[in-house]
């Protein structure tokens, strides 16, 4: 089951609000493992691209200051019915996640 989810809502100006919920620990690298006492290494999403029909229109930049299982929302002016919105993220370890959805 894909762990990155997307919601698309039509907004007041006719554009689309895109909200993405990713499953990710967003570790700062400062937290200690309670059992071992060792610091849990930093592990967080860095970039998240928003594309319409394959063309990137926005990039969100994240860091460890963003909450665990992050929610990132943005609105885009250009998406219309029938378009496909895809979101792809990459973290500091090179791991990735992606989700895509058709605009109603």
């Amino acid at each position: 089951m894909a762990s990155t989810k997307m919601k698309i809502k039509k907004n007041k100006t006719g554009g689309r609000d895109v909200m993405v919920l990713a499953k990710h620990p967003m570790e700062t690298g400062l937290r200690k493992d309670k059992k071992t006492g060792e610091k849990i290494p930093a592990h967080y999403i860095e970039t998240m691209d928003f594309a319409v029909n394959g063309a990137v229109v926005a990039q969100a930049n994240l860091g460890a200051g963003v909450s665990k299982n992050p929610l990132i929302g943005m609105s885009m002016a250009g998406a219309k019915s029938g378009d496909t919105i895809s979101v792809s993220w990459t973290d500091n370890k090179g791991e990735t996640g992606t989700v895509e959805k058709a605009v109603k």
Binding site: M1, K5, K7, G73
Partner: protein, 284 residues
Amino acid sequence: MKKLVSLAVGMGMAVLTASTAQAISEAEINNDIAEFQGFFLKRFPGVALEDYVDGVNSLPQYAHRRANWELMMDFPPYEPEMEKAEEEWSAPFANGKGFNDCDLAPANTYPVYDGASNDLHTLVADLNACLEANGEQPIKNVKRGRMARLIAHYKSQFNGKPMAVDFSAAGAQTWYEKGRQFYWAKRGQLNFSCADCHVTNAGNSIRGDILSAGLGHGVGFPVYRTKWSMSGKPWGTVHRRYGGCNKQVRASPFSAQGPEYKALEYYEAIMNTGLPLKVPSQRQ
């Protein structure tokens, strides 16, 4: 006992001593509902009855924190979990049957009184009974995780339906009375009753928090809590919450699905008569 009596009298509710603990009628329970709901509608004039299902978020004293909930509800963290819940519900048993074949009451009528066993059936118990009847292992952790998700999935299909728990049988009325007494009895080292916080002090501050109104408790459960999600166990049934609450007043918690919490759940569900189901809930 004296304070219990005076507070109950102050609310115009039927006062019962230990010796008459069993003698409560359907009419008196209906009166209790009207008194309980009337108390809150008067205390918080701008809050409509159906708004109480949103818990503390509906209270004016929570206005400075309400945006947390409103923004979280733009895309509730429980949504991916609800997809998982649907998959867990739909997975067939080894014998080919599934949860849709279980003998369950409508979600807005739980807990259900069973005259034959003189017991209350909670949705949790009915799901586990169904698993056992179909040769499956019952779920051990009845407060969190998979059980909470299954409950959320089933109950959410009844969203909008008004709470309508039946209390017409004499045995049911006895269970009601046990729950009512539990709710109004002092307990723990802090010597608080549920009512002390959630009736008398509803909307007031306690340490860094605001006390929720008792009206509406449980209607939105299971709850998905930000605080619990930090330790990887975000879901909780109403009995999980009861245990935590009892610990907060330094009382030993009772067991989930035991008689005390079943009775308490029954009392609260009856006090919520008419409130629409809204499952699951996002809370702090």
